[in-house]
Amino acid sequence: MLKTFPTGGVHPPENKLTAGIPIEYLQVPGNVVIPLSQHIGTPANPLVSKGDKVKTGQLIGEGKGFVSANIHSSVSGKVSKVDTAADSSGLKQLAVYIDVEGDEWIDTIDRSTEIVREIKISPEEIIKKCFDSGIVGMGGATFPSHIKLNVPTGKKCDVLIINGVECEPYLTSDHRLMLEKGEEILVGVSILMKALKVEKAMIGIENNKADAISHLTSLASSFTGISVHPLKVKYPQGAEKQLIKALINREVPSGKLPIDVGAVVHNTGTAFAVYEAVQKNKPLIDRVVTVTGKSVSRPGNYMIRIGTPLSKVLEAAGGIPDGTGKIINGGPMMGKAVSNTDAPLVKGMSGIILVPAAEAEREPINPCIRCAKCVSACPIHLEPFLLMTLSERGMFERAAAEKITDCMECGCCSFTCPAGRPLLDYIRLGKSTVIRMARQKVLK
């Protein structure tokens, strides 16, 4: 029996249209816009101003405070301005605009394709290198990676878990990376193990990626302490807590972190970025993005420089097909709808999905028939139907008692509801209100 998390979860149609398409390097665009906040936490401080010449890989934004990350130029050229730019949801934030001139990289970056396996630097130096290189969680959450590598005093990490699950439908960027950069990922995993001082790393991959499982399994035999674990396909297995449950049968308590049960989780894409940062001295300036959709003419997996306008990315994939009703940044279950196609590509974008209009509309809302499908689909074992009603009626204290803040917004409830009820919309409303109320009480 393949491992998985025991209760809850759904099986959305996989639609991995691009699983067989190799990663293609996208041409450097004519100009880029690099936001200074591409991570959870404090935005980086700009280090350049209008007229400055920059090289590819040069530090242009300095991480500030405990939770923050560095930002590097992904191109060479001239800074045209430092100004606000609208992100894919239309929200404005500070960004560096660069007009591209050639592609001149800073000298310290090793651009050869030769794989370097020997890890020469100490754990402390690895953590510093991750911070310096602007490494953040590549699965979409964009939490600065160096923080997760600093195990707090009094806590102990005994296993590193590598997330190769990619449970969101459509997305194949991690899948392709595992197939094409498998050895680099495993070196990256070894680097993370050294930084965390653990002997054991487990890579979890869902069984729909049999080629990646067998490829990494055979490569892993020449690495110490790394094992590959096939998992039964079930969404949301890529959620940190569900993956930990599936692989090592430990439950991260409500409000706690994986480290509280002795585990640290990193994404395969992050492991690759760590490899490039530590062994090749290359900061995080590009990433693999799955650009896909049922009517997209050239769907694929593209290696794209950070800051490339989404419109250029969509052009490479054959443009926006007629009748597109929605563009999703991320997967269909947890991704955000894009309202601004001029927005730049950022570190956390693992996929762009173009959805035909017919599939972009929601079902009409019908009365709750109390079928309890949302209850059995919830991987956190909440009662979504109840949380929706409580939010709808403004009963936030009761919602807090029913653990509304434990919701990770995976969307299983809304997905499974036969009455087409917007369960997660209301739960988000209730959750944010409860969090705000809790904060205000603290502030008083």
Binding site: V10, P12, P13, S89, P169, K241, N249, R250, E251, V252, P253, S254, V261, I320, G325, K326, I327, I328, P332, M333, M334, K336, A337, S339, I353, V355, A357, A360, E361, R362, E363, N366, P367, I369, R370, C371, A372, K373, V375, S376, C378, P379, I380, H381, L382, E383, F385, L386, K403, D406, E409, G411, S414, F415, T416, C417, P418, A419, G420, R428
Partner: protein, 333 residues
């Protein structure tokens, strides 16, 4: 940019399930039982079913159109299911007018007065059925003897149900061995060749429907298994204590409305609990109350009452029986 983009929040995907599909899956699951009831009870089964279904749909339509003035939703299949289940709980020789009165109580009083689909505390079909049982006790307990397709409608030959034979026999002081000689064999009961409500007689058809409901994930196993299991255990204990005074568990499960009730009535979404643990408690409650009524009560059968009584506890169970939240118990591997 000419494309107008939809920017609703996630999830951007929706499963294939809908209320209508779930309801029609229940209808499909009831087809074998309907065919068998026609096979044993003839034209009466068709007349009663048609009267019940059509009047349920009509009452729902009239209330939505003229009283609530809301969009008409009779195509969602819920009134169809109520109509079918009500008919399945009736003898096949009952006059149409009584059926229509039962439908009125089911739809208008038990369902629409509470706000329609999703809001009724009690199973509408059972409220209608119990109302009819109390108001028309003669017609509701005059069961046609299964004579095959040629069984006539209103003037059918009548006889007692197995449970009534059992109750009457025990009241007269007969031993189980004596009573058993008058009862149909388990095989006859399994195939439905017995007197009773038209939809409840054929265990085999109801079990086929159960498998269908499980495959289509319309219901989970919890409630039916809890009902049937608790009846088997309770009657099993009584039978072991005194096999000359109490019928065996297999008889209790195959006779009367246990299977119809456990699989199709107790599992009604709206009136059953939402959490698996509560479903098991609810199911056991139904089983225990059923046996108490059958063995110690005035009525030979108690499934309908048992389900309605447990329906009343569902809001309480929903309020106090919670799923074990993820991460509540810290397990170290």
């Amino acid at each position: 940019m000419t494309n107008i983009l939809n920017v609703a929040p996630s999830p951007h995907a929706h499963g294939k399930e809908s209320t209508r599909k779930l309801m029609f899956n229940v209808v499909i699951a009831l087809i074998p039982a309907f065919l068998i009831s026609v096979f044993y009870f003839g034209i009466g089964a068709i007349i009663v079913t048609a009267a019940s279904v059509l009047s349920c749909l009509l009452f729902e339509f009239l209330i939505q159109k003229f009283v609530l003035k809301k969009p008409i939703s009779i195509t969602d299949g819920s009134a169809l299911v109520t109509g079918l289940l009500l008919a399945f709980n009736l003898p096949s020789n009952i006059p149409v007018l009584i059926v229509v009165i039962g439908s009125f109580v089911s739809i208008v009083i038990a369902k629409m007065t509470f706000g329609g689909l999703g809001n009724n505390p009690f199973n509408p079909a059972l409220v209608g059925r119990v109302f009819m049982l109390i108001s028309f006790p003669v017609q509701m307990t005059t069961w046609p003897v299964p004579k095959g397709l040629g069984t006539s409608y209103l003037d059918a030959v009548t006889g007692a149900t197995p449970l009534a034979i059992l109750k009457g026999g025990i009241a007269r002081g007969q031993s189980i061995t004596e009573i058993m000689s008058q009862l149909p064999t388990p095989a006859q009961m399994f195939l439905g060749n017995i007197g009773g409500s038209m939809g409840e007689v054929a265990a085999v058809a109801l079990l086929i429907g159960f498998v269908w409901l499980l495959i289509r994930k319309v219901i989970t196993w919890h409630i039916p298994v809890a009902v049937i299991g608790s009846i088997a255990i309770f009657t099993g204990i009584l039978w072991l204590i005194n096999p000359e005074k109490n019928a065996d568990p297999l008889f209790h499960i195959l006779a009367g409305g246990v299977l119809l009730g456990a699989i199709y009535m107790a599992t009604d979404y709206v009136t059953s609990p939402m959490v698996p643990r509560a479903m098991l408690i609810y199911g056991c409650g139904i089983g225990i109350i059923t046996v108490i009524i059958r063995v110690y009560g005035a009525y030979p059968e108690g499934v309908s009452f048992a389900i309605l009584i447990m329906n009343a506890f569902v809001p309480l169970m929903n309020a106090y029986i919670k799923p074990g939240r993820f991460g509540e118990e810290v397990k170290h591997g």
